[in-house]
């Protein structure tokens, strides 16, 4: 038999009987759809974003310390921007596969959606964490000691401690976030990238 005939034989094979007796109401989607996972993550981001904004708003009102307020306002600004961009992406992600999509275009679409989200996550760690750390550090110091914020800022030892916190925590948060994203999406994105490159090549 030639290749074509052999191939046709496969369509004629008996299929698993467990799959017969299909029922639409029982039909559910699988857990392997990465865009669905991404959409779920974006929803979590959105809820977190709103939560963070509310918490910081309360802190701003409760603790009227100017420098802490500035730090938290910056965090709130970034959180607001992230929440709105997460919402935009959440709205735009099309989870359903369309038969009108060409395979290459579809692979690129999924790849771009995933990498856009990953870039947003990386920006969170780079722009939000430092401000959040400074604000949190000073707020903790002022509240814990009952002294004025200028007292801490004038002390070299406190400045050093704050610098160490920033130097340790910001890269740690950044690399932990990167590592977690790598675990969730790394292998999948490499496979998508490889498939896109293979299709584009001759």
């Amino acid at each position: 038999m030639n290749l074509e005939t052999l191939w046709q034989e496969l369509s004629k094979q008996e299929v698993n009987t467990a799959s017969n007796g299909l029922d639409i109401p029982k039909m559910s989607h699988s857990s392997n759809n990465m865009l669905r996972l991404l959409k779920r993550n974006l929803l979590i981001n959105l809820l977190f974003g709103v939560g963070i904004l509310l918490v910081y708003a309360v802190v701003l009102i409760q603790y009227p310390i100017p420098i802490v307020q500035v730090c938290f306002l910056v965090v709130m600004g970034f959180s607001f921007w992230l929440t709105t961009s997460s919402y935009q992406q959440y709205k735009n992600i099309q989870v359903d596969v369309s038969p009108d999509h060409q395979l290459l275009g579809n692979l690129e679409r999924v790849y771009n959606e995933c990498t856009t989200w990953i870039k947003i996550q990386e920006r969170i760690s780079l722009f939000i964490y430092p401000w959040s750390i400074i604000g949190g550090f000073l707020l903790g110091a002022v509240e814990g000691s009952g002294k004025d914020v200028s007292y801490f800022l004038a002390k070299t030892s406190i400045q050093m401690l704050l610098a160490v916190c920033l130097l340790v925590l910001v890269p740690t948060c950044y690399y932990v976030a990167k590592w977690l994203l790598h675990i969730s999406f790394g292998q999948y994105l490499r496979r998508l990238e490889e498939n896109i490159e293979t299709l584009k090549g001759t």
Binding site: L10, H29, S30, N32, L35, P99, L103, G105, E194, T202
Partner: protein, 163 residues
Amino acid sequence: MHNETYFLELIAQHQGLIYKLIRMYAYTEEDIKDSYQEILFQAWKGFPAFKGEAKFSTWLYRICLNTLLTQNRKQNVLKQSVALESSLELHSHHNETDNEHVKQLYFAIRQLKETDRAIISLHLDGYNHQEIAEIVGISANNVGVKIYRIKDQIGILLKSYDK
């Protein structure tokens, strides 16, 4: 026309095609079930837009390939041959040698790159270069070059199995 019974009838008629494509990519029983579920889900969601202008098999082919190539699956090569044996129970009226050849072809196709599997399956199912180019999103010339190379690769693999 686009009711549940009609949809299920069409799916039942094309189960062989769906499983044939799934088994090219899914290596574990869990992934096979998951892929089948997702394809059915996607097909059902897209079914109202199916106007019957293209053949249902072509429409379903596109859904299958777009779903399978964007799914996240476990990539366990060690389990590949075992899973193939268990998932590919051949009940053909042909003799044992023919069945063995079918298995060998399947195994060879599973050794190819993921996108090459899609292209060769379309080719073996009778789609011409232009049709494949439209489904895959590359030029017809590129399809021709790829098919020539893939067939060559399959030939080498099949010869190695015979030894």
